[in-house]
Symmetry: C2
Subunit: 192 residues, 2 copies
Amino acid sequence: MRYAKGHKESTRERIVQAASRRFRQDGAEGVGVAALMAEAGLTHGGFYSHFDSKEALLRAAVEDSMTQTLDELTRLAKRYGDDVTALARGYLHHQHRDHPESGCAAAALAPELARHAPDTRAVFTVRLQALFKLIEARLPPTLPAAQRRERSMAIFAALMGSLQLARAVDDAALSERILQGGIHAATILALK
Amino acid sequence: MRYAKGHKESTRERIVQAASRRFRQDGAEGVGVAALMAEAGLTHGGFYSHFDSKEALLRAAVEDSMTQTLDELTRLAKRYGDDVTALARGYLHHQHRDHPESGCAAAALAPELARHAPDTRAVFTVRLQALFKLIEARLPPTLPAAQRRERSMAIFAALMGSLQLARAVDDAALSERILQGGIHAATILALK
DNA sequence: CATCTAATATGATGATCGTCATTTCATTGC
DNA sequence: GCAATGAAATGACGATCATCATATTAGATG
């Protein structure tokens, strides 16, 4: 091999990370292969020696960004009270709302992913279930086990939905209230 | 005037309704002007005598589809108990999950709308607030007025998020549990 | 230092994108 | 039935899309 071993691997990683950001920012259909490669400091030509298709890159990017989201949420929770309210406060923060490119992949891409290849959705599903578990672990142990799981799903759905609405709305004050409403709701859903 | 009066208006309406469906099905970037016009039984050429741009059509389509969603939810609620649980059951039904093209525009387009023109987001915002009011009117009057509004936002966010996740996931059983979790959560959030 | 080859760049493919100028056609008023 | 006119069709614009064949170049190996 002529290039240092691991060179191609690290280049691939750079492409995935660039894609991971841009897909969240502009949507999977909102950015082309050429722009993605340029963001990684390359030209578009070499793309297909790294990935079979744009869809394959999306799959890798979903895996990367969902893992990032998982790590970030874990970090956030640990930093503050390590309960659902802490998670909600971190998730529904202005900074998260204003920076989708480094934020939750589910919030940025969920409706689009529903229209993508089964492989891509499968990757998403696995990571999403890890997110559910993250919340579930912070629900009161008094809740029946069967309910804990469904409750964690609903809490995440509420957080994700609130973030999306806060981003879509054209009214700063309303956006703020949506975030607050989401935090309160998550707290309520984490009780009883 | 050479064509029957109202002819152009009804054609425009046909285009909006075709767009209203296709945008929800394939996303705003997932379908082109030519396909939209074809769906309305026309060719692409005449498009710009009806709309200034594709964005203008999106704005009209968002207004149309959000209004449809509002009407449908009102109808659904009235049909069954006329409470939040009835709304949730209707919203998180399999039929809704499996037919985004005739379903909630917010669930189909929210993340994408965040990236669109202020005018488009303003139209969305107005209709979204009507959706909030629809839920708010079905919350127990014992709740403090200030909380009612935020609560209604969170309930809708939870419904919308649950629907999106149920659509994105590649696991039928999980999809089902997400829908159930959303219904239960909405019911809990409508109490106390 | 020269050679070899993997990694990237160049450049082109046909398709589709949004947009628009121009032409054709349908319908109504005379 | 003819002329006037508004609506829709034709066809093209340059840009960008995903994809790929070919050329170049970087850098470790001998």
